[in-house]
């Protein structure tokens, strides 16, 4: 059993939450983007989290195998929601009816998501600190 | 003032009636040592039980455990030092030229 396994789990979460934070930043930055290289307005990006046992090689105890897992971003996908149509005839990308296809990104939603990601990130940092302290304490046995 | 009669005087001379009978010196010390060892052992047991209760979730009283461990530790160290002094004293006595 490895103290570093615990830290690897937490660091997998740090990486995942960072990816999530990046997507949120991208969404917030592109809230008004109507033109993308692939054509059409910017589509909101979403991350999908999945538990993974890939980070351990051999150390995990028998009774924990399969239960204790890290996390990874399994995909960054475009939102399934259709773009929001706004009436704005003066917009350069307005269609024949004066409607513009906007990304439909809700800023409040993105901010709330960002706070959740930030809180999860902090929690994982605390977990790493706890694991590190425990390891250092174990080194002091017999000193 | 109490009356001093011949009877009361004789009674006080009787060793069986003396309030604090004086035991032979060797026995008294052996008793004290046995008590000390017993007490040190008790404090060890108390500390062990406290540790068990903490780790099995019966009690989360951390300072109680730390204090009883420290007490047991100090008692044992004191007893060891006393033992060392006693042995030194004994050896010194044995070295004496009679």
């Amino acid at each position: 059993m490895d103290i570093f396994d615990s830290m690897k789990i937490s660091s997998s979460a740090l990486k995942a939450q960072r990816v999530r934070l990046n997507t949120i930043s991208s969404n917030i930055a592109n809230v008004e983007t109507t033109r993308t290289p692939g054509g059409g307005p910017y589509r909101k990006k979403e991350v999908v989290f999945k538990s993974t046992g890939k980070i351990f090689e051999k150390h995990l105890d028998e009774n924990l195998k399969g239960a204790v897992q890290g996390v990874e971003v399994s995909e960054i996908r475009n939102s399934q929601e259709p773009p929001k149509m706004i009436y704005d005839p003066s917009h350069p990308d307005a269609n024949s009816e004066g409607l513009v296809a906007m990304p439909g990104i809700n800023l409040f939603e993105e901010m709330a998501d960002m706070m959740t990601a930030s809180r999860a990130y902090d929690a994982n940092v605390t977990a790493i600190k706890a694991a590190k302290r425990m390891a250092l304490k174990a080194l002091e046995i017999g000193r | 003032m109490k009356e001093i009669t011949l009877l009361s005087h004789l009674k006080s001379l009787n060793p069986a009636a003396t309030a604090a009978p004086v035991k032979p010196v060797g026995e008294g010390f052996a008793e004290a040592l046995k008590n000390a060892v017993g007490q040190v052992n008790d404090s060890q047991v108390v500390a062990d039980r406290a540790v068990e209760k903490l780790q099995t979730g019966e009690s989360r009283n951390l300072h109680e455990v730390m204090i009883s461990m420290e007490k047991a530790d100090i008692s044992m160290r004191l007893l060891t030092q006393v033992r060392n002094r006693v042995i030194e004293a004994y050896q010194e006595i044995m070295r004496m030229q009679v």
Binding site: A67 | T56, L62
Partner: protein
Amino acid sequence: MPIPGLFDRTIGLLEKTLDLRMQNQQAISANIANVDTPGYRAVHLEFEEGLKHALAAADSGIAPEAGAAGGDFSRVQARVVRVADPSGIGDRNGVNLDEEMIDLAENQMLYEAATQMISKKLGLLRYVIQEGK
């Protein structure tokens, strides 16, 4: 040379406790890491009951030989319990982050307490063996 009875039952208990609490640290880390994973069931390890039973068995069981360290703790195993989200709404993630943070702190504290205690007991043994010199 390993002398039977040199390391008493409490030292055995503390050794096992350190193992179990390290496993618990991994489980809690996994829960915190998966706080946003949809459908994830939180992993909780139960072992305090198991330890209590091992102690009780040692107390009441076979009469110990003189000086033998009673209580076989090596067989105590943590029981894995998976807790799903009870509310049935949202992403069905079973992790309660606040509870996990408290468990993290408690487990860490008890692990460090155990290292301190085992250190103290071994230190005392060493002192006595060296005759306090």
